[in-house]
């Protein structure tokens, strides 16, 4: 009787520990949960994960000054100021948790931030909970409202042409260059918010696997220029480009990815190629913006 009871207790104990371990090890690691005053349970677990995976670049204090930071370009994100590049929310506002998780899963193209897709969903949530402890902003502010994005408009030559006019009008080329090579007249002088040199995105560099800093889809591209990439020179154009017009700019920007197979490139090719976009007003494509495009709220003051 006593022996049976011991066996039952042993089985229960093993089942309980295994269950707990399984619950925590659904990703590549559960990290090393460490005691840390003032943290909730998620952040406690996140702290362990942070020490294992993030601390070398982002630093013990989350200020982007980890041991490897001096050798990294661009510099790791400083979580103490809670300014994030990839958001669905307007410039100057905190991102949604889902924005941070997307960054974690995707990584950040053209930086040293890798994809952390192998981490489990629970691990990612815990990491985000811990990262949010580095700035008081998370206690005093709510994340911004995600920007409104109307359904994508059809890709037509008119849409691409209008996108090209917007590209000239809002002067994307000043940084990204007329061909989108990241070699505009201001490109060599750009610095981020920590005064570190930073290069504009080169649209033409990638092929079919083209990725932007904050995603791969047309929706991601729309969000990038409408929300801006906070902490970098890339501003938000939400105040100056109407939502539907923004899709036209997306379609034009896709044609700058000349080595990528896309509906946009097919439509442009069928219409006669890039030369067909040049109107008499912008044929020289130097400093003069196209005249036929109006901007959001335009009309002077």
């Amino acid at each position: 009787m006593m022996k049976n009871r011991m066996i039952c207790l042993s089985i229960l104990f093993i089942a309980a520990t295994a269950g707990s371990a399984l619950a925590q090890n659904t990703g590549i690691s559960s990290g090393y949960p460490t005691t840390h005053d003032g943290l909730n349970r998620d952040a406690q677990r996140g702290h362990g994960l942070y020490l294992r995976y993030c601390v070398l670049c982002h630093g013990v204090y989350g200020d982007g000054n980890g041991d490897t930071a001096p050798f990294i370009d661009p510099k790791p994100r400083d979580f103490t100021i809670a300014t994030f590049k990839c958001r669905s929310t307007p410039t100057g506002t905190l991102p949604l948790d889902s924005d941070l998780i997307n960054t974690l899963v995707r990584g950040v193209e053209t930086s040293n931030m890798p994809s952390w897709r192998p981490l489990s969903g629970e691990n990612r949530d815990d990491l985000i909970a811990y990262i949010k402890t580095f700035s008081e902003r998370w206690k005093t502010e709510k994340p911004g409202e995600p920007i409104k994005m109307p359904p994508e408009t059809p890709v037509t030559i008119e849409s691409i042409r209008h996108g090209h006019e917007l590209f000239q009008k809002v002067e994307c080329w000043k940084c990204h260059g007329q061909q989108g090579h990241g070699d505009g007249p201001s490109a060599s002088t750009l610095t981020d918010s920590k005064d570190q040199p930073i290069r504009p995105y080169n649209f033409a560099s990638a092929g079919n696997d083209a990725r932007f800093k904050c995603g791969v889809t047309n929706q991601d591209l729309y969000r990038i220029f409408m929300t801006g990439l906070d902490g970098t020179p890339m501003p938000s154009f939400a105040d100056v480009i109407q939502p539907n017009d923004a899709w036209d700019l997306v379609h034009y920007l896709r044609t700058l990815q000349v080595n990528r197979r896309s509906k946009e490139n097919e439509v442009l090719k069928a219409a006669g190629g890039p030369a067909t976009l040049k109107t008499p007003e912008n044929k020289s494509e130097n400093n003069s913006p196209a005249n036929s495009t109006t901007l959001a709220h335009s009309g002077g003051r």
Binding site: T83, G92, P233, P235, D239, A296, H297, R301
Partner: protein, 233 residues
């Protein structure tokens, strides 16, 4: 009828008797030592701006005048002001003209409306590098209406345009309406201060802050002088 007119005339004094005894603080900001030489700005990459400046343009990190006068110093009541926390209804305006910020330093009250204009024929991006407030970055192409913004915490915020790297300015977000920026030879004036004890602070973007305590006893103007130590680098 006459009594009614008199009452209307006296109403502001009944509401705020301090107006009967409004003192002021005025003075001058100067420097000792050798200030850094300002660097010439090359605007040739932006011809529409370059042509607006027949005379050479330099950086504005230190702007001096005759007799060691120091301009662009924000002088404000940092303690003791009677109307702390009252957000003024009028807006302050910050202009981008000739690829320069006008004025170079713009004080404002916390939560006061700030209008940002682009009077140039080129796109600017206005990028306040706030650390206490929220950092944001907005494009403002030519012909678009002013941006309307507010900052909800006191802070001296550097402002830059990434497209035109020589453009640097400052927002001075304060918790008082009693402020001035030294100009025309380092002069400043803080009017409408009722009797009381005040701390006056002077802030310069390169030389830091100084403070002075003053006591105003009546309808008087107290003279306060600030002298910063200039560095040649």
């Amino acid at each position: 009828m006459r009594t009614k007119q008199m009452l209307v005339a006296l109403l502001p004094l009944l509401i705020c008797p301090c107006l009967l005894f409004a003192g002021a603080v005025s003075g001058k900001v100067t420097y000792t030592g050798t200030p850094a030489r300002q660097k010439p700005i090359d605007m040739s990459k932006e011809p529409s701006c370059a042509k607006q400046h027949p005379a050479p343009v330099t950086t504005e990190t230190v702007v001096t005048g005759p007799n060691n006068a120091l301009d662009n110093v924000v002088v404000y009541v940092s303690s003791g002001a009677p109307d702390d926390g009252q957000v003024p209804a009028q807006t302050v305006t910050y202009d981008q003209k000739g690829c320069q910020y006008i004025p170079h330093v713009q004080p404002m009250h916390v939560n006061q409306e700030l209008k940002i204009l682009n009077d140039d024929q080129t796109s600017h991006n206005i990028h306040p590098l706030a650390k206490v407030n929220r950092e944001w970055n907005k494009s403002q192409p030519p012909g678009t209406p002013p941006l309307s913004e507010k900052f909800d915490k006191p802070e001296f915020i550097p402002v830059k345009c990434n497209v035109h790297p020589w453009m640097h300015g400052w927002f001075a977000v304060l918790t008082t309406n009693h402020y001035d920026v030294s100009k025309d030879g380092g002069d400043f004036k803080l009017p409408n201060l009722p009797p009381g004890k005040y701390t006056i602070t002077a802030w310069h973007e390169s030389y830091g802050t100084q403070t002075a305590d003053v006591t105003i006893t009546g309808n008087e103007t107290k003279d306060v002088k600030f002298t910063f130590t200039a560095k040649p680098y």
